[in-house]
Each structure stands twice: as structure tokens, then as C-alpha cells.
């Protein structure tokens, strides 16, 4: 571990040298494909999850998406790389980037889709009926009642997607893409354990930082009426979070996140 500290604090590793990007450049590259994949996955899975949760139809789509979890991510990456990359000409990262992004997007979809549809679908019927009863349209019920109540679960789905994608993006270095994974595999090839351990510390810190950031976003965006964060002594505090039907304990616990 002390060697990793030496590696991490060596100024030479922090600057771009001929042909080898420094640590900041690799971290930025890592962030780019990780966040790009989560953005694409969220753009697909969030509307779909809202629709499934709101209409309470199409639960089979969620089941199929969950089946994706059984796929070995590394095997899928290699398979797509071998199939796709010969068809992508030109210079640059294209041959590495396209298969990697597909795998990362596929990984990020199940947690976002599952949590969004479960969060919206589990809003208690009494709350939905009350919203319709005071004259809200279906769209208003979704956007002003169901989404705010489901928000903690939706954000926790995005958080677990981010963690999985950041972790799996390290594996992408195996097929030749840049990012922090480079230090793990280059270090392994060169038997340079301080570089490997340093890279491992970098990924863990990056994952932790992103998760903390999203936890803060969750705290800012979730209404205190949903999260139960009232001042002590407030009447509602004793009643617990309003409206949100308790999400099924097993699913909620399982959905917290699976390491990748």
C-alpha cells in the first residue's frame, strides 16, 4: 500500500508524457465513458420505467431487463469487441469505444428501469386516488405526485448504475480503451504492483466521490415529506414518510447495488 502512495504522489504520473496520458487525463476519460453510458441508459430507462410504473403494465419488460444481469459483462464486452470492431474503420478509439459503451449501457439499464418502475408502481393507491380526486390529470399525478414520492428509489437506481458502470469501465481497458483500468492492466503486465494498487485506489476513490455526490443530490431533491426529514417533534415525523408505500423489503435491499 505504501508503494501505491509513492506511485500516486509521483508528479511524473500526473503529467501527460509522450503517448501516455497522465492520471488527470485518464480519470477524465474514465468519467467520460462512464457518465456517457449512464446518461444514455437513463434516457432510455427513465421514461420507460415511468410509463411501466404509471400504467402498471409491461412488468415483463422489467423482468427481461433483469435477465441481463445474468450475462457476464466481461464476456459480453469481448464478444461485442470481436464482432463489432472489425467493422469500425478509421483511427481513434472507435473500435474500443463502441462495444464498451454498448456493454456499459446494457448494465446501467436494469437498475434504473427496475427502481423507477417499482418506485412509481408502489405509490400507495390511496395517494393516487386522492390526487385524481382533487382533479389532477394523469400527467399531473405522475409528475407532481408519483415522481416526487418515487424519487429516492429512482435516484438510488441511478446511483447503483453509476457504481456498476464506473467499476466495469476499468475492465474496458482490457480491450485497449483508456481510463483508470489502464493502470490495473498495464501494471499487471509490467509486474508493477504499486501502479496496480495506485490505480485500484483511484477507481475506488472516484466511485466513492460520485456516489457521495449523488447522495447529496438525493438529499437536495427529495421532499422532506417523503424522506421523513422533519424537525424533531413535528407531528408527521411520528407518522413516518407520507404516501410512499413501503417498497418490498427484499427488492429494495437487493436493488441497492451490485458491485461490478
Amino acid at each position: 500500500m505504501s508503494n501505491a502512495f509513492t506511485w500516486l504522489t509521483d508528479p511524473a504520473n500526473w503529467h501527460d508524457q509522450l503517448g501516455t496520458p497522465g492520471i488527470p487525463a485518464q480519470v477524465v476519460a474514465h468519467l467520460e465513458y462512464s457518465l456517457g453510458a449512464v446518461a444514455i441508459a437513463t434516457a432510455v430507462a427513465l421514461p420507460l420505467g415511468l410509463l411501466i410504473g404509471h400504467t402498471r403494465r409491461g412488468a415483463s419488460i422489467v423482468t427481461v431487463a433483469n435477465g441481463l444481469r445474468a450475462l457476464p459483462t466481461f464476456g459480453l464486452l469481448i464478444l461485442l469487441y470481436v464482432v463489432i470492431s472489425p467493422h469500425i474503420g478509421g483511427r481513434g478509439d472507435g473500435p474500443y469505444l463502441v462495444p464498451t459503451e454498448i456493454v456499459l449501457v446494457l448494465m446501467a439499464i436494469p437498475p434504473v428501469l427496475g427502481n423507477t418502475s417499482a418506485g412509481v408502481g408502489n405509490v400507495s393507491p390511496a395517494v393516487r386516488d386522492a390526487s385524481l380526486g382533487i382533479g389532477m390529470t394523469g400527467r399531473e399525478v405522475l409528475l407532481r405526485v408519483e415522481v416526487p414520492i418515487a424519487l429516492p428509489l429512482i435516484i438510488s437506481g441511478v446511483r447503483s448504475a453509476v457504481l456498476q458502470v464506473v467499476a466495469t469501465a476499468t475492465v474496458a481497458a482490457y480491450v485497449g480503451l483508456g481510463g483508470i483500468g489502464r493502470y490495473l492492466y498495464d501494471g499487471l503486465a509490467a509486474r508493477d504492483f504499486s501502479q496496480m494498487t495506485g490505480g485500484a485506489v483511484l477507481v475506488a476513490v472516484l466511485a466513492l466521490a460520485l456516489d457521495t455526490l449523488l447522495a447529496a443530490v438525493q438529499r437536495w431533491t427529495v421532499s422532506p415529506g417523503v424522506s421523513g426529514r422533519f424537525k424533531a417533534g413535528t407531528a408527521q415525523a411520528a407518522l413516518g414518510p407520507a404516501g410512499a408505500a413501503r417498497p418490498g423489503a427484499p427488492e429494495a435491499a437487493a436493488e441497492e447495488g451490485v458491485p461490478a
Binding site: 444481469r69 457476464p72 464482432v83 458491485p259
Partner: protein
């Protein structure tokens, strides 16, 4: 390696027949590398989860530490393990310990939630019938917690199958080797057989292990189906 077929590269069938010994040994090591950490994790999680359900102050640190451990990418953990354990880089013990850590991070909380969710009237009824505290834990609380715990086990075991394959990238011998081999053999042109065999075996292994947990769950909770009739 490609010498098996006369003309073009051998197909999946030829690949399997010419490499069946290796593939079987990788499948076997992949299986135990996926299963053993779940068993270790379960054995460690039960007392931890019990403590957290029993003593409230244990629960928040348990959830926080579990969440922190989950943020560490598996590849990073595999690579760091030798410097913590003093093992060699390719020692399978690294994989077992790393995956056990993940399993505990997931399951300890699940066990605590499951034991904490036993309805108060059930607990009181058991006490009124003369169950002592340890008896109640073993005969009432734990059986009622089984469905929730097995749901956590299913997630852990399926995730492990995929994570074990990642350990193959640093050279630990298991099904991940099929992917690295396929990658290396594809340098001149696409060569699918090892990759396809690896993906199929990984998915099959994940499904079989998942099924085993479901069967165990059903065997341990007969009342769920007897009660369903009414």
C-alpha cells in the same frame, strides 16, 4: 490451437471437443469461486445482521460500511487483496475473500432488515408460548426471515458468477479464461467459439445457482404454499 480443423478456424463443437478437459476444470473452479464466498458471506452475515436487528446502534454503521465496500470495483479489490492478505496475485483466495466481502456488505443488511421485520404480535405470541429468546430466534424469527434472506442470496450468487469472470482478466483460471483466450485468438480475425462457450456457460451457471437458491428457499418455507390455499 487452431490446428483441429483442416481448413478454416474450428467451430464451437470442435472447440468444445478439443478443449473439454480445460473447459470442465474452469467450469468447476468458476462454480466454487462463485459459491464459497456466498456461503462464507452468509455465515458472517447472520450474526452481524442479528446484532444490528437486536441493538439499534449497530444498524447505521453496518449500512454505511456495507455501502462503502460496495463502491469498490471488484477488479480493484482483486488487485489490492494480495497486499492486504500477503497472498500471490493469482491466488484464488484473493477472489474468495473479495467476493465474501461483497456478500457480507449485501447480506448483513438484508438479514438485519428481515429479522427486524418479524411482526411484533408474532414475537409476542412466541414469547407467550414459552419460547426463550434463543429458541424464538431459531424457530420463529429466522424461518420467517428466510424468504428475504434467500432473495438477497439470489442477487449475490448471480452477481458473483459475473464477477468471477472478471478475475479471469488478471489470470485466475476459471471461465473468464475463455474470454481472454478468445480475445487473444481474435487478433488476426474474429474467432468466436471460446467467447460464445464462455458466455453460454456463465449464463447457465448463473441460472442453475439461482435455481438452487430458489429450491432451498421453497424447501425451507413450506408454510408459504400451504397458507396460500386459504
Amino acid at each position: 490451437m487452431n490446428a483441429a480443423a483442416g481448413g478454416g478456424p474450428p467451430g464451437v463443437v470442435e472447440y468444445v471437443t478439443s478443449h473439454h478437459a480445460e473447459i470442465l476444470s474452469w467450469l468447476w473452479s468458476h462454480t466454487w469461486l462463485s459459491v464459497v464466498p456466498v456461503l462464507i458471506g452468509l455465515v458472517v452475515s447472520l450474526p452481524l445482521g442479528y446484532l444490528a436487528a437486536r441493538h439499534r446502534w449497530v444498524y447505521p454503521p453496518l449500512v454505511t460500511v456495507g455501502g462503502l465496500l460496495y463502491t469498490i470495483p471488484s477488479l480493484a479489490l482483486f488487485v489490492v487483496m494480495p497486499s492486504i492478505l500477503g497472498t500471490r496475485i493469482l491466488d484464488p483466495v484473493n477472489v474468495v475473500v473479495a467476493l465474501s466481502v461483497y456478500t457480507v456488505a449485501l447480506l448483513a443488511r438484508v438479514v438485519a432488515d428481515a429479522l427486524g421485520a418479524v411482526p411484533e404480535d408474532v414475537a409476542q405470541a412466541a414469547t407467550a408460548m414459552g419460547y426463550t429468546s434463543p429458541q424464538r430466534l431459531l424457530k420463529v424469527d429466522l424461518p420467517l426471515a428466510v424468504p428475504v434472506i434467500t432473495a438477497g442470496l439470489r442477487v449475490a450468487v448471480v452477481a458473483n458468477v459475473s464477477l468471477v469472470a472478471i478475475a479471469g482478466t488478471i489470470g485466475v483460471p476459471e471461465l473468464g479464461q475463455l474470454f481472454t483466450n478468445g480475445f487473444q485468438l481474435s487478433s488476426d480475425g474474429p474467432y468466436y467459439p471460446p467467447i460464445v462457450v464462455g458466455v453460454v456457460l456463465c449464463v447457465a451457471l448463473a441460472l442453475v445457482l439461482d435455481l438452487v437458491v430458489v429450491v432451498v428457499d421453497r424447501a425451507l418455507t413450506p408454510w408459504l404454499r400451504k397458507g396460500a390455499r386459504t
